[in-house]
Amino acid sequence: MLELKTYRTQVHNDWCPGCGDFGIVNAIQMTLLEMQLEPHRVAIFSGIGCSGKTPHFVNAYGFHTLHGRVLPIATGARLSNPGLTIVAVGGDGDGLGIGAGHFVNTGRRNLDFTYVLYDNGVYGLTKGQASPTLPKGVKTKSMPAPAIIERVNPIAMAVASGYTFVARSYALDVRHLKQTLRAAIEHRGSAFVDVLQTCPTYNDINTKEWYGGEDLPVKAPRLYKLEGSGYNGVVADPSTDEVNTKKGNALVKSFEWGDKIPIGVFFKMEVPTFEDQLALRMPALKEKPFVEQDIYNRDITPLLDELT
């Protein structure tokens, strides 16, 4: 019987006390349990940084890759062994700094997997430098001077790049995060989840209290849920103009930041995946993945005859 501990390992966890990463890894394990996915059918991929250690704490096939390269490696595994449920994770520096090119191009492909961004505005493991999502003008306690370049908007980038499921959640709201991760994993296509997260050690600006709105004149949580707010990012008919309208809405919504910050599904659309399109080219892929087929006895004589 699957239980929560089925998904846990005995590996010593060296994240700082209070780190938002704990919430994310717990939510991943709870989601896998809820979906009743057997550990050996799951593969977790990560980049480098604090978030990179995630696979070691999850009892599933685990790939701790290179800084910024988690998506290409997950892509190769996904295409060759599509029976696996793949969750790729990484920090915002990993995905949107050093790995930005892969982030964009992975979205264009629309592979059927999930990418979870641990978004805390700092490079934690190298001791708190500004990361791509830290707003301009902000100085965290570890920075010598405020950031003088603009932040990137992960939601807008994901929508513009072609991810077909784009959502945001919060590491300290494990219930919402679990729901969002489940929706992302169940989505057929590239799903992107931007997880706002605290770094208690280095980001003293976007703290738990800040997200809770305790600094506001009228104390109220900054985060609000798109679900129930009248916003609907789901494309009902991808063959119509609705796609562009919904993408436009998602872009506008994604720039809402400050006293009010939306979480939930910004955009969702079901269209053929990369794998679907490969299977159109190669019908044999529909039967079973190549990793389960005998491709080791190919007859090359027609190719040789072509050259005579």
Partner: protein, 618 residues
């Protein structure tokens, strides 16, 4: 004096003028007539307009290299003859000076060139009214109003004239031309044949049977032969080896291989992905290898530079691949992007930081390319290492005719993969189990009981991060032991070859694509009384230390021949064996060695006492 079946033909023109198709049709016609060919192309990094040329050598016995003279030059433009010396930044003097005495030049009569302008009184001139003949052919098919659309067909007229002058079987060429136009384009085939025939007839009628002294005559066929170049040999070997996943980022001269694979993927079930860059290309391929599919990626120097990081990850995670095909071109940076070089030997050997096992094989010709590529996949999975196939633009793009590959004795070895049934009885699977040989049985993700972790950090047997010094030492030794093992298991006969007599006054030492020129050059030297043998190093890693040591310790004069500036293999041999070369012949102008350059280079050393020779196409 008439010469039969020993002929170098060259066609030159602006890029986009269709020199490839006519040269390849001519070559095909020769092969089907029992003759043997060696055909290589030089072109610019440019789409249309810059000078390119295709050289076709035809012999009664299979040539393994080209020579630097031309018996019959086909000029599709003025520049092919005279070069671009009138331009502000001239690059070449044209090919008229390369025409052999008694040879000839086919050119456009409407250029109105005076015989004096060629500056040669020892060659024959064959002006052909390209446009008039083309208009006649178009009229036959009612297309003379579309002259500009079909202008490129003067290449076929020139081919016809070449066949006429060399008196070769026209029907063989007809067949080759028609094959280029199938289905709806069949009518175009007729039009091209008509154009070629007009060139053929014109040459025969206007210049007479004796105008050109080299004749091509059909020979009895020596079995079925194919016309193949390096990229095709690599691609076909990948299919034969069961590679299921190929990635690439567009780059000269590697892309042709991936496009070949993609065009055949439907019949052979291979996923081909164009990645966003070479960083992604290698990492996708490594991800696929870890996930259970044989995988590969192909690139050239600039792309391989980006792959260095990924290569290290494949190394420390003991990925069963990928196979990386590195088609060297002249560097550094963009260098000479369409020209050849052998300057990435050291780079392939040391790319990425840290120390990890990798295998590097450098095939010397198209046949070795096929078998080495096949082996590369077996090694990748057996030893769980990245394997680099080190070749170059010259070998990639040069056509030779060879017998069909007979792959009956090729066996796929997938290495030690654990079975799910074994995993079921054990609860303690360790992906990086320390074993005597250094190889750990691997699970394929998805297998029940096979869960493992893998990381680019140093790790324990389970694949979890560790910084413990004792485990670090064990893991380093485990990984490095695999390359030692490969060195012991793989026979020397695969790793290096001593061509020619066991002992000779002069020993030539080389690697990779210069093999053919060296072998052919040795025959010229022998005819001139200089006896040589040739040590060809094929495995860069694991390096055949003992074999090379033995071959060279008896050698009297050792000459390294390399298509690079610093004689990198000579340095590696010295590192591995302590044996230094006496002389070097290097070439680093982006052009491959010719047969005559080997001859001349060795002569310079032996007769003229020059220690280090640099040869150049210029």
């Amino acid at each position: 004096m008439t010469v039969t079946n020993s002929f170098t033909w060259m066609i030159g023109g602006p890029q986009g003028s269709g020199i490839n198709s006519v040269a390849e049709n001519f070559a095909k016609a020769c092969i089907r007539g029992g003759l043997h060919i060696f055909a290589n192309i030089e072109y610019h990094s440019n789409i249309k307009g810059e000078h390119s040329f295709y050289r076709l050598r035809v012999e009664s016995k299979a040539p393994r290299s080209h020579v630097d003279w031309v018996d019959l030059l086909v000029a599709l433009d003025r520049e092919t003859i005279f070069g671009d010396m009138n331009k502000p930044h001239p690059t070449h003097r044209g090919h008229r000076h390369e025409v052999s005495p008694g040879g000839g030049i086919i050119y456009d009569r409407s250029l109105n060139l005076t015989p004096d302008s060629f500056g040669r009184d020892d060659i024959k001139l064959f002006p052909i009214p390209y446009m008039d003949l083309l208009v006649e052919a178009l009229k036959e098919f009612g297309k003379d109003k579309e002259l500009s659309k079909y202008q490129v067909m003067v290449n076929t007229i020139a081919l016809g004239a070449s066949l006429g002058l060399s008196d070769y079987d026209f029907d063989l060429a007809t067949e080759a031309i028609r094959e280029g136009f199938t289905g709806r384009k069949a009518a175009l085939g007729d039009l091209n044949v008509s154009a070629a025939k007009r060139g053929y007839d014109y040459a025969k009628k206007s210049f007479g049977e004796d105008a050109f002294q080299i004749k091509l005559r059909k020979q009895p066929l020596s079995g079925k032969r194919m016309m193949i170049r390096g990229v095709q040999a690599v691609a076909i070997a990948k299919l034969k080896a069961g590679c299921g996943f190929q990635t690439y980022y567009p780059i000269t001269p590697a892309t042709d291989e991936s496009e070949y694979l993609e065009s055949h993927q439907k019949d052979y079930n291979m996923i081909v992905v164009q990645a966003e860059d070479e960083i992604s290309a290698i990492n996708m391929a490594t991800g696929a290898a870890h996930a259970g599919l044989r995988s590969s990626t192909s690139t050239s120097g600039p792309g391989f530079s980006l792959m260095a990081e990924g290569l290290g990850w494949a190394g420390i995670t003991e990925a069963p691949g990928p196979v990386v095909v590195l088609y060297q071109r002249a560097g550094p940076a963009t260098g000479l992007p369409t020209r050849t070089e052998q300057a990435d030997l050291r780079f392939a050997l040391h790319a990425a930081h840290g120390e990890f096992p990798r295998m590097i094989i450098a095939p010397g010709d198209v046949v070795e390319t096929y078998y080495d590529t096949f082996d590369a996949f077996n090694y990748a999975e057996h030893y769980q290492v990245p394997v680099i196939l080190l070749t170059d633009k010259f070998l990639a793009s040069t056509y030779q005719d060879i017998p069909l590959f007979n792959g009956d004795n090729l066996k796929v070895d997938r290495g030690d993969i654990v079975r799910e049934s074994d995993l079921a009885t054990s609860t303690d699977y360790r992906r990086y189990r320390l074993t005597e040989l250094g190889i750990s049985p691997r699970a394929i993700p998805g297998q029940k009981g096979g869960i493992f972790w893998t990381t680019g950090d140093e790790h324990d047997e389970y694949g979890h991060i560790t910084e413990a010094s004792d485990i670090r030492i064990k893991m380093m030794r485990k990984r490095m032991r695999k390359i030692e093992l490969a060195g012991q298991v793989i026979p020397d006969s695969k790793k290096a070859t001593l061509h020619g007599p066991k002992s000779a006054p002069v020993t030539l030492v080389g690697w990779g694509s210069s093999k053919g020129a060296i072998l052919d050059g040795m025959e010229d030297l022998k005819a001139d009384g200089i006896e040589t043998n040739f040590l060809q190093v094929r495995y860069v890693n694991p390096f055949p230390d003992n074999f090379v040591q033995q071959a060279l310790s008896q050698a009297r004069r050792k000459i390294a021949i390399e298509n690079n500036y610093s004689a990198q293999m000579a340095g590696l041999i010295r590192e591995k064996t302590g044996i230094a070369m006496d002389n070097t012949i290097v070439k680093f102008d982006g052009r491959p060695f010719s047969q005559n350059e080997i001859y001349e280079g060795v002569k310079d050393i032996i007769k003229n006492g020059i220690k280090e020779v640099t040869v150049s196409h210029a």
